[in-house]
Amino acid sequence: MVEKKRRTRKTENNALPLEGIKVLDFSWAITGPAITRGLADYGATVVKIESLKAPDVSRLSTPFLDRKPGVNRSAFFANYARNKLSATLNLSLPRGVELAKKLAAWSDVVVESFTPGNMKKWGLDYESLVKIKPDIIMLSTCSQGQTGPGARLPGYGFQLVALTGYAYITGWPDRIPAQPYGAYTDFIGPPYGVLSIVSALDYRHRTGKGQYLDLSQLEASLQPLGAVLLDYDINGRVMERQGNRDKSFVPHGAYPCQGEDRWVALAVTNDKEWKGLCRALGNPAWAGETRFTTFLERKKNEEELDILISRWTKGLSAEEAMAVLQKNGVPAGVVNNPHDLREDHQLNSRGHYWEFDHPVLGKHYCDAPASIFSKTSARPRRPFPSLGEHNDLVYKEFLGLSDEEISELVIEGVIEIT
């Protein structure tokens, strides 16, 4: 089947919404860098401030080229740092803080994700920076926000997924919670960061005013859980984990297919889809039995129904099962593993995988943003930066420091060179 690509990502040099916007990026790990990635992808000049002695933990994250760790060898880091620049700066020295302030004066936006209090300790908090650049927009993001009893507790998404309520509602009712994979809340927060910063830029363009944005990942992560929280506030009910069940739909779950660890997920949400499911299964005799004819009956006999459906899915590949079910109007999808994702026709038709080449990591692929714009789509502009790769560009060109000034700063250890 020929796919007509009517709306593909432009590869020519279309305009980008954040062209000319300068971002000073102190963030590290996942959430902060995902926010600044969202800005870099759309044209901002993002200068990532790094330390040789304590590199961003993401630079030390698997997978590595040839399984050998190295700060410029992580394909995970590559995905978050593409389109950015890197400069080293030692903030523990007074001249380092001075230099950071010069960078702030050059910037439109400052982003940081340290434990609350650190930026203030260095004299780089909003109150200090706004004296240097009155219309600066600064965003701080951390697990629980800048204030409150939990503010100073460091944390990553791995714990936050528990504090935000997501771990409790994931898993089997008869087992310990399974928690969503990975640092789940690290993927919920970033769009809120981009939305806040870009809206603040729009406001600033019209009014000349900047501001401080305190993004608590806990508070952002609770936004999608509104109905669950109201259910407790209004009905006194605590939502429990339900495996793959849904109280409004039956059948609803993941069913085993041919091959190792292959599954198809399906959901029947109305009578029409139930009839479609029966057709897909070849109208088996059991489908007409009283215990399955109505929604209420199906709910009562859900376990049996799941077993019967599994017998059918086990005879097919996940792709075949999805195709037959879709053909009969039943919501169904392969439980895509990472290999499937890489080959997925739909993702590839969207130009989802950006190819980059990096002097150390070599050829690698990154994930594109989820939106295609008719005029200002994001595009790959440069691969992730090697640590400190842009010291010259940033200090000489952007800040206008002389060669002598830079040498001095290098000797003092303010600018670390690789």
Partner: protein, 412 residues
Amino acid sequence: MSMLDIYRALELGDEKSLLCGKHLADLGMDVIRVEPPCGDKVRNTGPFYHDIPDSEKSLFWFAYNTNKRGITLNLESATGRKLFKNLVEKVDVVIESFPPGYMKKLGLGYGSLRRINPKLIMVSITPFGQDGPYKNHKTADIVNMALGGFMFLTGDLDRPPLRVSFPQSSFFAGSEAASAVSLALYHRTRTGEGQYIDVSMQQALVWTGMTSRPAWDLYHTLIKRAGPYRQFATGTRQQQTWQCKDGYVALVYFTGRAGIQSQKALVEWMRSEGMSDEYVDNVDWETFDMVTTPQDFYDRVDSVVAVFFKTKTKKELYDGALKRRIMLNPVTDAKDLLESSQLKERDFWVELEHPELGQKFHYPGPFVKASGTPIQVKRRAPLIGEHNEEVYMKELGFSRKEFLLLHESGTI
């Protein structure tokens, strides 16, 4: 003053467009949800107020429509579509989540709408995007979480892969769409140009896979789901969710400064209560590397920590974590969240009134604290057609007689 209060949007479709409009409305935008005359089907989604199924009592509707106005309009009628175009003249943004091609079939696709309003920004939110082999696929949340790669990685290996028990996929798409709209608005502010945005929920979900897709690319290995464990690409795993006296807590060991301090503090705490042992006491966290550490190290240390956690409640462990700066969080439920002292001190909960129910409820507050233009969650979700008079009579200028005719003809 709010960041986006000079803008106005029309929002329509199903549950996939709700969160995008809500967050733009949080930022001050005048977002008008356009529903069919009998109300959106989404209003049939539970849970319900006191479990009374009613299109004005859906908590799902309440949660994701705060700050919006609501009107009714029948797009299946020619007059209705004409009215929609009149409204489009007066707005900056249209947010929709109908199946690909539906708006175009009605003559309301971006191509038509931008002729009426050249500066319009239109965003379409769908499971896979406007084009491609899956564009007409039927989906539900569990199907989206499967095709987006999330499910394969979640759950216990000896059972089917899992989704989160509360639907997630629409919300990933919604917040992505809101951020995309802000980018398009800013571009328009600088250049005067409107444009069309095509959001794919599947692409947004792929990011939840974290290291797993790059791990496939480089190692040709698949990260397997590991239930309450954290699984590395190298095959080792560490306990992430732990049983405690009255529930569960989350903790993992980390390389790096914060991890070193956290692990040392945990060992010190266990030691102070006589619950550590020589092996654990002698671990050098400074040289610990979470990725290359062999499995037997984790199993050995975990066995000691597991016993310690079982002797304490969630509250005791979290209070200790706050005091000693251990990176531990309790596995909280909805009750814990409503009672959280952190959220209370942050003034996170907002009380919104529902006059027709004679009650006030606690809603999640702002997603960000903005110093210059604070976000305000001001108003509960609209009733069906609540702002019809305001919009059709005051803003579009229909007389009451005409307004009644529009209603009686089934146009609104």
